[in-house]
Amino acid sequence: MLRSFSMFMFLLAVWLLLSGHYDMLIVGFGLLSCLGVVLIARRMDIVDREGHPIHLTWRAPLYWLWLGWEIAKSNWAVIKVILGPRNRLQPQVIRATASQETDVGLVTFANSITLTPGTVSVLVNRDWIDVHALTQETADGLMIGDMNQRVCQMEGTGAKRKGD
């Protein structure tokens, strides 16, 4: 119920921000449509830890900040390869260990790998992710396992897979 309410408030906030019109009638339409979406989502049974992960609210922004810095660094690395001589390319497939416990955590890890240019997740499994890396440098950066640790920290310890 709390999750449904938070989803409703979130949808309503997005609606109000995008609308820009605040008459009674139109805001009423907005309220109704948000309510409708929440009801449909409840019926589809997707308002759970996975579909609407509010428990990550406070830790996620910190992780995103760190990820932003990683994205900046890896962008620079890939730009050097694009503009550099051709033999700078060292494409390879490496296997990164994924020690996340929840699906949300695993998806966050895989998407973070893809978001940092120079590494693209190709196959995602429970315990590992096969990553295509552009150069030795980007591959090494991933192999340290720093990102893996940080995603684990973000999803929080003691979280179980699927459901509360």
Partner: protein, 123 residues
Amino acid sequence: MEIVNHILFYASWALLAAGGLLCVIGAFGLVRFPETYTRMHAAGVIDTGGALLILAGLMLQSGLTLETVKLALIMFFLLFTSPTAGYALARGTWSAGHRPITHTRSDARTDGHSDSAGMTDDG
């Protein structure tokens, strides 16, 4: 106040110019790199670097308005959807039987950093 406005103006100018440059570099890599997998990395530069810088530059331009919120939403959507689409694409390419050209083999966590010979070039 005047000084702050000036700084904001030049900062957004720099961000926009850098974003445009990153888009060009990424697209250039898209054309230059051999094979789908390597091109994905170049597309990643457009999706992250280029998009983030340009949207940030536009945010500085519009200040605290509804536009900034919309730009933030666009950024949010792009950052969530582009890796998902990227994974679907990589997974699809892999399942279709296309294998990346590789220059070193490293299956485990630590091995395979030795040879650095030039890669096969089929571009």
